[in-house]
């Protein structure tokens, strides 16, 4: 098991390194960011000075080397727009995104999993048809438009929830989050639900497919032949067997949630990473884009690794590999 973790970690580091190279090269082939920093009508001297200040006059491989040195010590350059270290900006905004994505994940699982399992257990039921129909709707609705409609309904027309922004932050067991305040929850619920929507449909379909598949297997039939009550079959035989693949998929999808948060954050003006990076892309704020990319790559690699480990831990066939008689 330890060897497994070690091997995967090394693989991840290599990929990270390659990606950093890739990202850096790609960014450098596009345009000249100096044009964005200075008034185009400035004197050539001025432009040269800015170029030197930002190290943009050096050959590419030196720039990359500087970049790599900096990256390893936590310095990913300064934002052209904010003038502050890119990494610091990301660290500042990340908790908000994390909070949003996490809540969305929980909502998606709480709603999607039971519905999907139900649909799998009663494939010909009327309720199932409705559920599956809604899941198709769920993946077809443009999330951003739905977000707008939610704002119109709940904020403008009904006035129940605030239009945008993040609420007050509370502290619980040393963790800071806006989940712990009423005001925070009110601000959180719309964006989290909006973000969760696509995932609810996905979790539902996954759960349904998994349930159908497992229920058709021999050991379920054997369990029935043993005379076990249905509830017990679902609890001890169905659930553990579908949860393993579902957990792994959900884990990976958590990364997607973080990526998708860009849209939700824009609509609800949620002060997270997503909004930061969209603005950076529009404003050609290279360091921030690069920092975001590397950050996301690292995050995905870490997620993949964690998910693999969880899978190995959950499935006794993988976990106890050495013990086969």
């Amino acid at each position: 098991m330890f060897a497994f973790i070690l091997r995967r970690s090394i693989q991840s580091v290599v990929v990270l390194f390659v990606m950093s190279l890739l990202v850096f090269c790609m960014i450098n082939l596009v345009g000249d960011p100096v044009d964005m920093l200075v008034n185009p009508e400035s004197l050539p001297d001025e432009i040269e000075r800015v170029r030197r200040d930002f190290g943009l006059d050096q050959p590419v491989y030196i720039q990359y080397w500087q970049f790599l040195k900096g990256a390893l010590s936590g310095d990913l350059g300064k934002s052209y727009v904010f003038g502050r270290p890119a990494l610091a900006l990301m660290a500042e905004r990340f908790p908000a995104t994390l909070e949003l994505a996490f809540c969305a994940l929980i909502i998606a699982v709480i709603i999607g999993l039971p519905l999907g399992i139900y649909a799998g257990l009663r494939p010909d039921g009327f309720a199932t048809r409705i559920i599956m129909g809604m899941s198709v709707l769920g993946i077809s609705i443009p999330t951003f438009w739905l977000g707008l409609m939610m704002i119109i309904l709940f904020s403008v027309i009904l006035g129940w929830l605030p239009v945008s922004g993040r609420g007050e932050i509370g502290v619980f067991l040393g963790v800071e989050s806006s989940i712990f305040t009423m005001d925070g929850l009110k601000h959180l619920i719309m964006p989290a639900t909006n973000l969760a929507l696509f995932k609810i449909a996905m979790v539902m379909r996954l759960a349904r497919a998994g349930t159908s598949e497992v229920m058709a297997q021999d050991f379920i039939r054997f369990a029935r032949a043993k005379g076990l009550p249905r509830k017990r079959i679902i609890k001890s035989h169905l659930l553990p067997n579908i949860l393993i693949p579902i957990v792994t998929v959900i884990g990976i999808e958590f990364g997607t949630l973080i990526a998708f948060a860009t849209v939700t954050e824009s609509i609800f003006s949620w002060p997270g990473l997503g909004k930061l990076v969209i603005d950076a892309i529009i404003n050609l704020d290279r360091p921030v884009v690069v920092a975001y990319l590397l950050f996301v790559v690292a995050l995905f690699l870490a997620l993949n690794l964690i998910v693999d480990i969880i899978y190995a831990a959950l499935d006794p066939r993988v976990r106890l590999q050495g013990d086969d008689t």
């Binding site: 990929v15 790609m26 960014i27 082939l29 596009v30 345009g31 198709v136 709707l137 993946i139 077809s140 609705i141 443009p142 999330t143 951003f144 438009w145 739905l146 707008l148 409609m149 704002i151 119109i152 403008v156 239009v163 349904r208 497919a209 159908s212 598949e213 990976i252 990364g255 997607t256 990526a259 998708f260 860009t262 849209v263 824009s266 609509i267 990076v277 969209i278 892309i281 529009i282 884009v289 990319l293 996301v296 995905f300 993949n304």
Partner: protein
Amino acid sequence: MSAGDTRATAGSPLRALSKWAHAVWSRPSASISGLFVLLIATLAALAPLIAPTNPYDLATVSILDGRLPPGQEMFDGTVALLGTDGAGRDVLSAILWGLRTSLIVAISSATIALTVGLTVGLAAAFYGGRLDAFLMRVVDIQLSFPAILVALVLLALLGKGIDKVIIALAIVQWAVYARTVRAAAMVERRKEYFEAATCLELSNGRIIWKHLLPNSVSSLIVLATLQTAHSITIEATLSFLGVGVPITEPSLGSLISNGFDFILSGAYWITFFPGVMLLATVAAINIFGDQLRTIINPRLSR
């Protein structure tokens, strides 16, 4: 196509097509969604001809018509069935034109992605070995990142413009096509007649074209449909965020974005109707794609 089937997938494609067509016709969800998709495509194609106004002809647009609720008459007498936006453009016309742009981008990018993906997938399946391993590794890495992220990054690099959006979307999608094509082609490859064909020294091209390719077609059709829906959504999201198509050629996503500012002041129609259109389009394509999948490959219809 059973696992034990080692015969070639002979049989005329025409017969398969007509069988599918018949199946589509007999299932209400398939035929209704299919007709709807056709209708939308026609509307989009004919937009310049059938739209009540041309919302992008600056000469005909007047700010005095701005923010009229649905059903009101505009300055020049035409009735704005779905209202007008802040600058006085008829929402219905804008939707038709926007739909056109959305579909053009989606279909172009899907076509490019399909071609590239098909080539890569067939090559990987046919040549196997290290080429296959390498190509699939690339595919895997790309697919482990969410589409929207890849699209954002690509657009950050490529800049603005409708052609850049098409390219970015194509790059986002090719990997899925490649993987599906390769999987289908590999199944074909394992069948015994494939060895026979290679022994006969038929040209590579012929083997690929006549044997590996037809087997992939059925999965491709389903995939293309669902992917098109997916890319419409991604393009709409990108345009909404401001990094998609330019404002001179707005798609449905841009329209929704335009309407965003007017929500608080109550002019809901500017954002509402384009959204409904987008939803209807994507839903219809998704439903149709799902139905196609059930028809073409009933075993996988879970």
